[in-house]
């Protein structure tokens, strides 16, 4: 009754082949990441230490650590986060909860899509023109952060909308049916259940800008700033700063006489910082999801 006909055998062969192919492709995503990390860590090993993290560079940046760049990148990302999050989240709430299909909504959607397609070097020029020159902020943390914020807005909006869409429509309809306004519905039911996804999504997306070089190169990052070891408040917002991505660029192209391991150590720290923030955000999301209310 259950004997396999040639047709069944052929189907099973195809099935195994398909399975293997899809699994192989999935695996091939992991391979580059592992290779990159291994390569970086091996090359960086001679320079990696706690001192490397918290000490300023010495001797024309050919020795010492990367503290000014590390704290600078943290500054840039945090300020960008505070600039991008309110605009992006509120815009996403509007687009997902209020907007009907009209010319204004289409215009906003079109702007979001096109903003996402703008190359980072063009964002850099925009930041230079708009924030550094026109707004008179000069080359500063605030100008560079705003540039990063503009750049990251489309993905912040996209990830926020994703979190909002995950709240079932039936919840909204139940609220509308009892005479609640859209805002009452959003405040009572939508936001409390989307907020975990929104927060982690925004942190993930904005932290990715830590690796951006071009947008901050023209708008606020400089080659060298004198900063005390471990100083947590070295920069004012209106001052320029050092950053990991531009420091790496400078080490690789501008600074002579630094050991190769210094570049790789900088790259490792940059990658490590982004991975750390990402995994924290993901852990937070998993934790918050486990407390989901439906």
């Amino acid at each position: 009754m259950f004997t396999a006909t040639p047709h069944i055998l052929r189907k099973q062969r195809t099935e195994r082949l398909a399975h293997a192919m899809f699994a192989g492709m999935a695996l091939s995503i992991v391979v580059p990441l592992v290779c990159i990390i291994a390569f970086l860590v091996v090359k960086a090993w001679p320079s990696l230490s706690l001192a490397f993290l918290i000490e300023p560079p010495r001797n024309m940046q050919t020795e010492g650590g990367i503290w000014p760049a590390l704290i600078g990148t943290i500054y840039l990302v945090v300020v960008a986060l505070f600039a991008a999050a309110p605009v992006g989240v509120l815009a996403a709430v509007y687009l997902n909860e209020y907007a009907t299909d009209n010319w204004f909504t289409r215009l906003v959607n079109l702007a979001v899509i096109n903003l996402a397609g703008v190359p980072s070097i063009v964002h850099a020029l925009f930041g230079l023109g708009a924030f550094v020159l026109a707004a008179g902020l000069g080359q500063s943390v605030i100008a560079a952060s705003l540039t990063l914020a503009v750049m990251t807005l489309p993905v912040v909006i996209a990830s926020t909308r994703e979190a909002l869409v995950a709240v079932p429509r039936s919840f909204r309809e139940a609220c509308w049916n009892v005479g609640a306004t859209r805002w009452q519905t959003i405040r009572a039911v939508v936001l409390p259940n989307a907020i975990s996804g929104i927060l982690t999504g925004v942190i993930l997306q904005v932290s990715r800008t830590a690796g951006e070089t071009a947008p901050i190169l023209f708008t606020g990052a400089v080659m060298y700033k004198a900063v005390e070891k471990g100083d947590l408040l070295p920069y004012r917002l209106t001052e320029s700063c050092m950053a990991l991505a531009t420091h790496l660029y400078n080490l690789a192209t501008q600074i002579n006489g630094a050991p190769e391991s210094l570049q790789f150590a900088t790259a490792t720290v940059l990658l490590g910082a982004v991975l750390l923030v990402n995994s924290t955000a993901i852990a937070l999301r998993v934790y918050l999801r486990s407390r989901k209310k439906w």
Binding site: S170, A174, N177, V178, G179, A188, V189, K293
Partner: protein, 258 residues
């Protein structure tokens, strides 16, 4: 078509209602009335426009992108398209959806949500409303000791009664139920039917149902909808007799079509 003696004055009057989703017309100019104090059963197969019709009554159709309604609906003599306070209109009509919806709030907050949204904040008043509505929905005894647990943690049947309690919480004059028994067991269905029998003394009920026998058990008058049209609206005993006004009605209620 309507041949019975009036149960009461007209509460909802629908004239030439048409509903479009984009270009597609799903309700083709229907007219009917709902009278005070009656249970009006609405039967008909899927896609006959029952749910769309309900959404027109409290104007929640406007939350569906691309949906438009034409014609006139008056509730208590007021044109729903012209009411100043659409939220007040929605509070006048209690709406129970096919699938139970426990909001991700506590049981207490599920029921207190509508009064709060309407501006009530006095704790004692809210307590009274919560208890009254949960009692009316035959859920009080099961949940009175755990009002602070999440409404979403209740069983499906309990959630449907919670939904009914929420629909009663804004003191509606009219209660609309849209295939409320679709996702719950027969025992719970019968309990809710008992609830409806008690509620009929104080309010008007519009009972959309996919169970023709449910309409037969409960409704004073029954309306048969098919493909966006009202085929027949008459006393329930006439609709379920061997000689209803339209042969299609007989075919549907006796299970030959639909």
């Amino acid at each position: 078509m309507v041949s019975d003696e009036p149960v009461g004055e007209t509460v909802i009057d629908v004239r030439d209602l048409r509903v479009h989703y984009g270009e597609r017309e799903v309700i083709h100019g229907i007219s009917f009335d709902v009278r005070r104090g009656e249970i009006l059963g609405v039967i008909g197969p899927a896609q006959s426009g029952k749910t769309s019709m309900l959404k027109c009554l409290n104007r929640t159709l406007e939350f569906t992108p691309g949906a438009t309604m034409r014609g006139t609906i008056t509730v208590d003599g007021e044109d729903v398209l012209r009411v100043r306070d659409v939220f007040g209109l929605r509070r006048k009509i209690g709406m129970v959806a096919p699938l139970p919806v426990g909001l991700p709030l506590t049981i207490y907050d599920n029921v207190a949500f509508a009064p709060r949204a309407a501006g009530l904040s006095n704790r004692a008043d809210l307590d009274d409303i919560v208890e009254r509505c949960l009692r009316q929905a035959a859920l009080w005894d099961e949940v009175k000791d755990r009002l602070a647990t999440l409404g979403t943690k209740l069983s499906g049947g309990q959630q449907q009664r919670l939904t009914i309690a929420r629909a009663l919480s804004h003191d509606p004059e009219i209660l609309c139920l849209d295939e409320f028994s679709i996702a719950i067991d027969p025992v719970t269905t019968m309990r809710i039917e008992d609830v409806l029998k008690e509620l009929r003394a104080t309010m008007t009920i519009l009972l959309v149902t996919n169970l023709t026998q449910q309409a037969r058990r409960l409704a004073d008058r029954t309306m048969f909808m098919l493909n966006g049209e009202v085929v027949e609206l008459d006393r329930t005993d006439v609709v379920f007799s061997d000689t209803p006004g339209d042969p299609r009605t007989f075919d549907y209620v006796s299970g030959i079509v639909g």
